[in-house]
């Protein structure tokens, strides 16, 4: 019982911290993009201000919408993105829910926000939103393949190296960096997998060049078009958390090193240092895969994006799998 209470309390704490971090990162991102565009840009706390304001605004439900579905989906989106975070090992600490799920589950839960967004958009009854939702789904189908290949490859690798453990469990995968388990070919394979995961980021995060579901110039914010006030605020947060969750996932899978294990740090500070280092890693991943990319690309069309994921990125990840296979089997 105490255990459970402890779990609930720490989950709550983690969720709050994560929400905070996600929004700060979102603010930094907006600032950096502005700077790249030679602008001063909004203050870093802008996302907090925006959300606070949205909560003050009227929450309009369009006449054409199915109200309960329309109103519940933003909450589902946010909740599911937050839950993902509970499964991911943060900064070398074991994940809070590590005994209740594995990599496969996380990948599924990570799908939920996109699905909730699409369902909410369908429920709004607007044709713009409908088109946006269709696109969101098409895109989702195209990149999920890539993620499954990544998951399978890693699991395969770990199942051979640590046969006694559950290969899909985070505790196994993060127990040692995958990079140390492989030789030359496998190393190359891991690099390919890493790159393909990074390539999925813009689509997962709803950022350029794959912000197709929201394409402002074509379908007027698409999936979001009918949302306002509180619902919009929830979706906004869900979006920010989703990016953080996915970036953390990538970090957990590919960059699991801790600062304290690399350089000598006083015992008392090691937790804090690891945590900060983790954030830095997450941020680097976000910058490379999402922030910078979205500043320097145009929006692709759905079919272009889908083709890119299904053909280029998928093949890339398959090649990664193959290389790892070669490495393991030979």
């Amino acid at each position: 019982m105490i255990e459970l209470l402890y779990l609930a309390a720490s989950s709550f704490l983690l969720i709050c911290v994560a929400l905070f971090i996600a929004l700060v990162f979102n603010g930094i991102e907006r600032k950096l993009i502005a700077r790249m565009q030679a602008r001063i840009g909004p203050p870093i706390i802008q996302p907090f201000i925006d959300i606070k304001k949205l909560f003050m605004k009227e929450n309009i439900v369009p006449d054409s919408a199915i109200p309960w579905l329309f109103n519940s989906m933003p909450a589902v989106a946010l909740a599911s993105s937050l839950i993902v975070l509970l499964y991911i090992p943060f900064a070398g600490m074991p994940a809070l829910l590590q005994n209740y799920g594995d990599l496969i589950l996380v990948l599924y839960v990570l799908l939920l926000p996109s699905l909730a967004l699409a369902i909410g958009a369908f429920a709004s009854g607007s044709s713009f939103a409908g088109i946006g939702a269709q696109r969101e789904v098409v895109l989702m189908m195209s990149y999920e393949f890539v993620l499954s290949v990544v998951a399978i490859s890693l699991a395969w690798l770990f199942s051979l190296c640590c046969p006694q453990a559950n290969a899909f469990a985070f505790s196994t995968i993060t127990s040692k960096p995958a990079w140390l388990l492989v030789g030359g070919a496998g190393f190359l394979g891991l690099i390919l997998l890493f790159i393909s995961s990074l390539a999925v980021m813009p689509a997962k995060a709803g950022k350029l060049p794959a912000d197709i579901g929201e394409a402002k110039t074509e379908i007027a914010e698409g999936v979001l078009v009918e949302y306002s006030g509180r619902n919009l605020a929830l979706l906004y947060m869900a979006q920010a958390v989703r990016v953080l969750a996915f970036a953390s996932l990538i970090v957990a899978l590919f960059l699991p090193w801790n600062l304290s294990s690399l350089i000598a740090i006083p015992e008392q500070l090691s937790m804090l240092a690891d945590f900060l280092f983790f954030l830095v890693k997450v941020f680097m991943v976000m910058f490379a895969s999402s922030i910078f990319v979205s500043a320097v690309t145009a929006r692709l069309k759905v079919d272009q994006a889908a083709r890119f994921y299904i053909i280029v990125v998928f093949l890339l990840s398959l090649l990664g799998l193959l290389l790892i296979g070669i490495d393991i089997l030979m």
């Binding site: 394409a215 929006r299 692709l300 079919d303």
Partner: protein, 407 residues
């Protein structure tokens, strides 16, 4: 994907179109099956208003046909009146007119490039081009007194000279653009995403362009070497031997797609820079107004009976003004035909078969400025416009009227 069709109205208050115009595209899945255009949302009845005022007041009105080409509208209006009243404009004024018009072309084309980038979701480039554009706006403000509405033309000349003291700033701006031009080329002509989104999208064949009376960069991108500055002497263009730019200058081929329309405009920025440079050097001294006294000019205009017509190359293509004076304060007739009015029909063949995602960039690629097209035209409530036109097109094909026209 889905069998039933969805109708997506783009506009009249769609974020991609800053101006109200309604383009209704019928979709099958993501593909455009049918297009219809509705205008009239910004029809202010400018020509009618102009028939209630004296020509100098109307000049201010002509300037507000459009906030973007507000040199060329007054220029065409003045030229038409000068034609009707037999007024000879001083040579220096003709050169100044060219300088102002070319400054405007630079601003307008940069604006287009930014908007095109924005339609592609490439906002960083929107910010970049609009930052670059500020320089020419500064020069325009420096010379005329406002960034946008220049109020610089007057019947019989221009209102303000470019003095020797002002030259350095203009020159400095030209040098600045020489420098950034290379970067602009890199960004727009070599970028893979821009390429992927514009190559072979929204094709307008030469034949279609001729049939639909396309003008300006839209026509030139389809390979018609029409440019009023080259063809028809007005202002100092009579001395300048401008050459119409088609995309084959750079690419050795003409496809008439969205990319070609971008290429033409990028190249025309360079051309405008050269024209301004030449005018600054070759501009003769002398008066800048045929009649510096406004009162006397008005008295004289009240005596005019006659008609005049003027062609001018606006940033978006051929612009024509017709005016008829009948010895009274206000003109008897005034007709404006701005380039977007002529180019709008071309959108329909361009859009057929495109994907929804292509619609904004294809529409933007004719650089539509609906403000002008609407000042007089009205709308089709049903999808008639395109069907009629497509019908007309097929009639035309069978009659094989084109002799020199087709590719």
């Amino acid at each position: 994907m889905k069998k039933n069709r969805v109708q997506i109205p783009i506009g009249p208050i769609h974020p991609a179109l800053k101006e109200p115009i309604q383009i209704e595209v019928e979709l099958k899945g993501e593909h455009v099956e049918n297009v219809s255009i509705t205008l009239g949302h910004v029809h202010r009845g400018i020509e009618w208003i102009g028939l209630r005022r004296n020509p100098v007041q109307t000049l201010a009105l002509a300037e507000r046909v459009c906030g973007i080409c507000n040199i060329v509208h007054p220029l065409a209006f003045c030229t038409a009146i000068e034609n009707a009243a037999n007024i000879k404009v001083p040579e220096r004024a003709e050169y100044l007119r060219v300088i102002y018009a070319e400054l405007e072309r630079i601003h307008s084309h940069l604006l287009f490039l930014g908007v095109a980038a924005h339609e592609l979701g490439f906002d960083s480039i929107l910010h970049y081009t609009w930052l670059v554009r500020e320089k020419v706006l500064d020069v325009i403000e420096y010379l005329t007194g406002n960034r946008i509405t220049k109020a610089i033309l007057m019947i019989g000349g221009v209102r303000r000279d470019i003095t020797e003291k002002q030259m350095p700033k203009v020159r400095e701006a030209l040098e600045y653009y020489e420098k950034v031009y290379k970067k602009l080329c890199d960004v727009f002509l070599d970028d893979p995403t821009i390429n992927a989104r514009t190559r072979d999208i929204g094709v307008l064949t030469k034949k279609q362009a001729l049939q639909l009376c396309a003008v300006g960069p839209t026509a030139r991108a389809s390979g018609i070497k029409k440019d009023i500055r080259q063809d028809f002497p007005y202002a100092a263009y009579a001395d300048l031997d401008v050459e119409a730019i088609t995309p084959d200058v750079l690419l050795n081929e003409i496809r008439g797609d969205t990319f070609d329309r971008v290429v033409v405009r990028v190249l025309e920025i360079k051309q405008s820079l050269e024209l301004i440079d030449r005018c600054l050097k070759e501009m003769p001294d002398g008066p800048i107004l045929y009649e510096p006294m406004l009162q006397r000019l008005l008295v004289q205009l009240r005596q005019v009976a006659g008609e005049g017509v003027a062609l001018v190359e606006a940033p978006r293509g051929e612009l024509i003004h017709y005016i008829r004076m009948e010895k009274s304060e206000a003109p008897l007739a005034w007709k404006i035909r701005a380039p977007t009015y002529a180019n709008l029909s071309s959108i329909v063949p361009m859009l057929e078969g495109c994907e929804l995602a292509d619609v904004p960039i294809v529409v933007a690629s004719i650089d539509p400025c609906i403000a002008c097209a609407n000042r007089a035209i009205i709308a089709d409530k049903n999808a008639v416009l395109d069907q009629e036109k497509l019908h007309a097109l097929s009639v035309n094909k069978t009659r094989a009227l084109l002799k020199g026209g087709s590719k």
